[in-house]
Symmetry: D2
Subunit: 349 residues, 4 copies
C-alpha cells in the first residue's frame, strides 16, 4: 500500500474555513498538516485559537512566511479574505508551492469584470492563471493545476443546480433567478450586528440584493456551460442557522421539459461523482442532510402551470462550499481518489 | 368617550393562531372575549391549554356550540383547520354571528378552482359570500361584510409586495416568481418530524414546490389588481425560526422602471395604512423587525443588469399573516379605527 | 376618567433595554415619551436606530442633556452601562428628575461591598440613596422614591424564587446554589464572539463562575429577607436563545418541608401581585411562557431523597428582568395601578 | 498491517443514536457494518430512513432477527428504547453475539433499585451480567465483557465531572447537586410538543426534577468511586439546541481545596485518555467545542466565598453520551486502540 503523504500548510487557519480545513485534513489519510498560519493569532496555541482542537492538536499558530511554507510543505491552502489573499498566493507560487486559494481573487477570468466588481487586483501578473476549482465542471484542468481558485458557497451550490439544465438545454439561458439562503457562518468569524444572536435568530433577510460579488463568477461558469452569455438575478439571504446553503433557482423551461428529464441530466453530469447526489423528483434538498459533509444534494421540479423549472441544491457552505471543495481539488491535483477523506456522511441531526 | 364593546368568541382557540387572537384581543380596547372554544381541550382551564395565559386569564376552554356563541357574542373568530371550518362558519352565519374565518375555506371566489385544489366544499351554500380580508386591497368591501375570509401568511405577504407593482404596471404580469421563507409556527401546533427541533434547526428546505394550495388565492388577488390573469410560480420554504415570513418576489420590469418608482407606487397604495411600512430602496425587510406586530415591511430593488424587479415583504405569520389581520378586519367591519389595538411595535430583539 | 400623563425620558434608548422601555411605554396609558436619548446614535431617526419602530415612532435620538430632560420630562429611565450611569443619574437628580436607573450603580447599600466588586463609584454623594426596585420585596419604599435602582435579570429571578423560602424559613440560609440560564440578549447589543450566532447556537457554557457582580446584590436582598447573612454560589450560563432567564436554585430543606408548603409560602408573599404567578408543584417554569411579558413564573419541588428544595423561576430578562420592572416601579412611584400597561401575556409561541 | 475487521450489526438503527452509530462505524477502520436493523422502517432503503446517508450507503433496513445477526456479525450495537432492549439483548447473548447495549436495561447492578425506578426487568436472567461502559472508570472490566451497558449522556457527563473529586476526596460525598442542560436530540426522534420548534426555541425548562431515572445510575457509579454511598440531587433541563450536554455540578469542598487540585485530580484520572480533555481553571467547557466528537471537556472552579467546588463537563450527548462511547467500548473489548475512529475533533462552528 502506497503511504506517500503530501505535506500541507493552512494559511488563515483560525477563521471558520481554516478550522474546517484542519478538521478535514486531520481525517485525510494522505495529507499531513505541516504548518498552521494565522496573522492575528500568531504565537497562540492552536488549541486555544480553535477550541475544538483541544486535546486533538498541539503546536502554535505561526506567522505566515512564504519561505517557511515552501521548506515544509508541498501545497498550501489559503483561507484569507478577498484582496488579502492575492499577494500571499503570489509569494507562494513564486516559490513553487501548489496553492488552493479559497478567496475570490483568482476566480474570474475576465480582467475588466474583476475590476468592475472588486477594483484593482493584488497580484495582477497571476491573474487568469488559476483553474476554477469546481471539480464537477473542471475535473480535467485541475489535474495539473498549480493554482486553484476554489469557488465559494453561493456559486458552487447554484452552478451545481443549474449546470445540468443549461448543458442539456432544458431551460432558457436568459431570465434565471437564483434565490439563496445561507447560514450565518458564511459571514465569517468576525462578530457583527447581523450575526449577533439576538438579531440573527428569528430574522430572515436578503442582503446585497442583485449586487453580490459572486454574481459574475456564477455567470462565468454558467455561460461556459451554456455556450452563450448567461445573465441572471442573484439574491442572497441570511437565515438563522450556523451552516448550510440552500439555493432555489428558477428558469423558464424549454417546451415539454419534465422533472424526470432534469433529474436525468443531472445524473449524467454528476455520474461517478463522490460529492453530488441527485434526489428523485419530489424529494427536496435539505441543508440538514448535508451538514458537515462534502456532499451536494440537488433536486428538480417543474411547475407546469407556469412553465418553469425549479432547481434546488443544498450544501454545507464551509465544506462543499469552501474547505471540503478545496480538499477535493487537492485530491484531483495530487492524483488521489477524488473522494479520499471526504466520504463521511453529514452529522445528522 | 365611547366605550361600546363588541363581544367576541374565539373558536379553535388553543392553536397558535387562536393563542395570538386572544393575546391581541386582550389588548384591544373595544373587544371583550366572551367565549373561548376548542375541541380537544374543552373543559381544560385556558391557562393550562395556553400556558402564557397563566395569571392572565381565567375560565375554561369550552366546547363549540353555535347557539351559545350567538347568545354571548356579536362576532366570532374561527381559527380552525381548512375543511373543518366551513360547517362551523355556516352554523354561525345561520345564527347571524359576524364571522372572521382564518381558514382557507372561503377565500376563493371561483368554485372549480376551489375544487381543483381542495376538493368538495364543506358549506357550499355559503361559497362566494365572503369578503377577502386583506384590508389593504379590500377595505371598502369589508365595512359591511358579515363573513370575512382572512388570508393566510403566504398570500398576504406576497400580495402586499406585488400588488403595488401590478397596479402601477411596473412589472409584467407574467413570469412572476414568489420565493417565501417561513418560520415553523406556520405548521401549527401539532408536532411533526419536520418541526422537531433536532431536524428543524440547521435545516432549510422547500416544500410543496409549485403545488401549495395558497397559489390560486394569490393569483386571484393579483389578477384582480392587474386586471388580467396572473399565473405565477410559488415555492414556500421552511427556515429554522418560530415566527415570520419573508417573501422575495421576482418580476420582469417594464422598461426603465426604477426602485424609486416601485417604492412610490407602494407608498401610494398603502398611504394611511396603519399596518404597512414601505422601506426606502436599499433597506431590506427583516422578519425580526416585525415579529409580534401587525406590521408589514415592504421594500423594492431593481436589478438593472437583468431587467428584474425584486419585491420583498416581511410579516409575522401569526399576526399580519393571521390573527392580527383578522382583528384589523374586525376593526374595519365594526367601524373602529383600523389600527386599534394593533399599533404595538415588534418585540425586538 | 383621570387622564393625567407623566412625561418621561428614555436615556440610553438604543440598546435592548432601551428599546424594550420604548415598547412598553408606548403601550402605557399614562406615560408619554417626551425624549429619547442615546450617545452613539444621537441625530439618527429613532426608526433607523431601532428598526422595529419604523412606521411606529417618529423623531430623532437626541444627545443627553440633563437640563433638557428636566424641562421636558417628570421622570427618566436610564438604561446605561454600569459605571456610565452614575454621573448621569446624579445630574438628573440634581435637577429634581425622578430616576429609574437600570444599571447596577445604585443597587448595593454597602459601600465596601460595592468597591470590592465594582471599584470607585461614579456619584459617591448619591450612594445609598436609592430604593431597590424589586417591587415584590420593596413596594412600600418605592411609593416615594425619587431614585430607584432597578435590579437586573439574575437577582430578580433568583430573589423571586428564593425569598418565599427564606422568609418562611423553609430552607437553610446557608449552602444555597443558584444556577441561572440566560438568553443572549442579556449580553446587550454590542456584537461579541460569545454572541456571534455560529458560536452561540448549539453552545451552552457557564461564565464568570462564582464571580458574577450580581452575586452581592442577590445576597443583600436575601439576607434582608432571611434576617441573617446569606452567602451563596451563583453560576450564570449562556444558552442559545434571545430572551429569557431560568433560574434553578437549590437549598437544604428544613425538616419535613414539602413542595406544597413552598408553593403556599410563595402564594402568600406574592398575593395580589400583577407580575408573579406561582405554578403548582410538578409544573415547571418555562422561559417561553413569559417571553415578552412582565411576568415571573415560580415553581417548587422537593427532593425527598436528598432533603433539598428546588426553586425555579422564569422571566423575560428584558422585561421583568429590566425594562418591565422599571415600568412597574414607575407605576408604584406615581400611584398608578401596579400592573398598568404591563398585563399583556407572553408572546407565545 | 493488520487489516482484521469486526463485523457489526446496528439494531435500532433509525433513531438518532443509531444514525450516529452508523456515521461513526463508517469511519472506523476495523469495523464493518454487516446489518442494519430497525422495526418501523424495515424494508425501507437506509438512505431514505436516514437521509444523511443518501449517496453514502446502500441497502435496506432489515427486520431484527437474532439468528441472522449471529450469522453475519460478531458484535451488535443495540440502540433501542429502555425496556424494549432487554429481550433482544438476551436473544443475542444466547447466540453468543457480543452486545453493546445503549439502553438503561443493564446499567444498574442492584435489582431492587432497578425495580423501584423501572419496574420489572425484561431479561431477568441476564440482570447484573453487564460491564458498565464508562471506559474511563471501567476500562479493565470492559476488555473481556460480552455484554456492555453503555451509559447515557447524563450519567456520563456528571460522572466524568465528579469522579475525580470523589476519588481524590476533594469534595464531601453528601450534598452534591447536579444541574444538567441538554439539547433536544436527547429526547429522540419521535416528535413531541416539547421538541416542536416553536415551543422549544426560546424555551429553557427543567423536567423530571429530582425524579429522572438516570439518578440511581449516577449514584451507583459515584458511590463506587467514593467508597461510600452517594446520594445527590439531579435536575435535567432542556435547552434550545440539537446536540450537547453541559453539566454544572456543585459540591462542598474539603477544607482548603483549590481549583488547581481539582484540575490535577482530573488530569491524573484521565491520563492517557483519548476522549477526555481537562481544561485549565478559568476556561469553562462549552458544548459547541465538542459537538460531533467523542470528547468530553471537564473544568473546575472553586467558590472560596461559599466553600464550594463547581465541576463542569460538556459532551455531545449522541457521541460521548451514546454512540461514540459504545464504539469506545467496542475498541477496548476487541483490543483496538481505544481512540480508533474516534479522534475526529468537533465540527466547529
Amino acid at each position: 500500500m502506497d503511504n506517500e503523504e503530501v505535506s500541507v500548510a493552512v494559511v488563515g487557519a483560525t477563521g471558520y474555513a481554516g478550522a474546517e480545513l484542519i478538521r478535514l485534513l486531520l481525517a485525510h489519510p494522505r495529507a499531513r498538516i505541516a504548518m498552521v498560519c494565522g496573522q492575528s493569532k500568531a504565537g497562540v496555541p492552536i488549541a486555544e485559537a480553535l477550541p475544538s482542537l483541544r486535546g486533538v492538536m498541539s503546536g502554535e499558530v505561526e506567522q505566515f512566511d512564504a519561505g517557511a511554507v515552501r521548506d515544509r510543505a508541498d501545497a498550501a491552502f489559503c483561507a484569507l479574505p478577498h484582496g488579502a489573499s492575492a499577494p500571499i498566493v503570489g509569494a507562494l507560487r513564486d516559490r513553487g508551492v501548489v496553492v488552493f486559494d479559497l478567496s475570490a481573487d483568482f476566480r474570474l477570468g475576465d480582467r475588466p469584470t474583476y475590476e468592475q466588481w472588486y477594483g484593482d487586483h493584488g497580484a495582477p501578473e497571476r491573474f487568469g492563471t488559476a483553474a476554477y476549482g469546481l471539480v464537477e465542471l473542471h475535473r480535467d484542468e485541475l489535474r495539473d493545476a498549480d493554482l486553484v481558485a476554489v469557488p465559494g458557497c453561493y456559486p458552487t451550490s447554484a452552478a451545481l443546480a443549474l449546470a445540468p439544465l443549461l448543458k442539456a438545454r432544458l431551460v432558457e439561458p436568459s431570465g434565471l433567478v437564483v434565490d439563496s439562503k445561507s447560514g450565518a457562518s458564511g459571514m465569517g468569524r468576525s462578530p457583527s450586528p447581523t450575526g449577533h444572536l439576538p438579531e440573527a435568530a428569528e430574522g430572515v433577510r436578503a442582503y446585497k440584493v442583485a449586487q453580490h460579488r459572486h454574481t459574475p463568477e456564477l455567470e462565468q461558469e454558467l455561460s461556459a456551460v451554456a455556450g452563450q452569455p448567461v445573465r441572471l438575478t442573484f439574491v442572497p439571504h441570511l437565515v438563522p442557522m450556523t451552516r448550510g446553503i440552500l439555493v432555489t433557482a428558477y428558469g423558464t423551461r424549454r417546451p415539454g421539459v419534465t422533472a424526470a428529464q432534469c433529474t436525468e441530466a443531472a445524473e449524467r453530469l454528476f455520474e461517478g461523482s463522490p460529492s453530488v447526489t441527485v434526489l428523485p423528483p419530489g424529494t427536496n434538498p435539505d441543508t440538514l442532510w448535508v451538514r458537515g459533509s462534502n456532499r451536494a444534494h440537488v433536486g428538480y421540479w417543474v411547475d407546469e402551470r407556469a412553465d418553469r423549472v425549479i432547481a434546488m441544491c443544498a450544501i454545507d457552505n464551509l465544506v462543499k462550499g469552501a474547505s471540503g471543495q478545496a480538499v477535493q481539488c487537492f485530491n484531483v491535483r495530487f492524483g488521489f481518489d477524488e473522494g479520499l477523506g471526504l466520504r463521511a456522511p453529514a452529522q445528522w441531526p
